[in-house]
């Protein structure tokens, strides 16, 4: 038997890893993958709470999160391709058009 808190700690760890990757990574694709990792961490706590409260709505919400993540991945990767086409680089440090 596994307590709910174990799932929550694992979910928080995954989310923290996503935040850290978002902040320290320089490759735009890896940054995008860190966002997916954060979404996965949140999904885990959704399902854990759904099991804890015996409410199925949590699982339906996870389904919606996945749909939004799929749409986001399609649009985001298209933006990455467009950025690469104009700037010829995937390094976010070199995309500095708006910097003073």
């Amino acid at each position: 038997m596994v307590p709910l808190s174990y799932y929550l700690v694992l979910s928080g760890f995954l989310f923290a890893c996503g935040v850290a990757g978002f902040l320290i990574k320089r490759n735009i694709i890896t940054i995008f993958m860190s966002i997916e990792l954060m979404l996965n961490g949140v999904n885990l706590s959704f399902v854990a709470f759904a099991a804890h409260w015996h409410a199925l709505s949590g699982q339906v919400f996870v389904f919606f999160v996945m749909v939004v993540a799929a749409a986001e991945a399609a649009v985001g990767l298209a933006i990455i391709i467009a950025v690469y086409r104009t700037r010829e680089t995937l390094n976010v440090d070199q995309a500095n058009l708006l910097k003073l």
Binding site: P3, V9, A51, S57, V60
Partner: protein, 172 residues
Amino acid sequence: MSFHLILFLAFAAVCVGGAVNLLAQRHPINSALSLIAVMAALAGEYLLLGAEFVAAVQVIVYAGAIMVLFVLVIMLLNAGEEEQTKGSRVALLLGVPGVLTGSVLIAWVVVRHSGTEAVAIGALPGHPTEIAQLLFHDFLLPFEVTSILILIAIMGAVVLASKPEATARKVD
């Protein structure tokens, strides 16, 4: 130690290892593969929580469709190893102990003070029939709205990823 807990710890170890490996690897394709490992292990955790439908969708949509898209773009753009820049020393000296203290504190509070009701396999009626009842009855409007969202996302992806001259010619 029950069999259930052993399974949880095994999947959790894969999750943690994959997430740390995602941060440690410098080549995007290695990060993508470790993210796939994390997602597959998460599907195992969902099964332990009695959510069979979510586990199946996790494998098919996340580990299947979305990650295939990522790997395709990595290969299409021929992404190489990322250059690493030197971070500031203050961030290293203050940030790492701060993050460690904060996470240990949060984990301790959550483990200590949350209700520790156990969750068993199959305890939750996560049968696809009941989820379908919720999805197509109680959440029907959000479900229809997501279909419009996906349609817009598809059109946006096609417009963004197509070559600029091709789009301009179509407009003329």
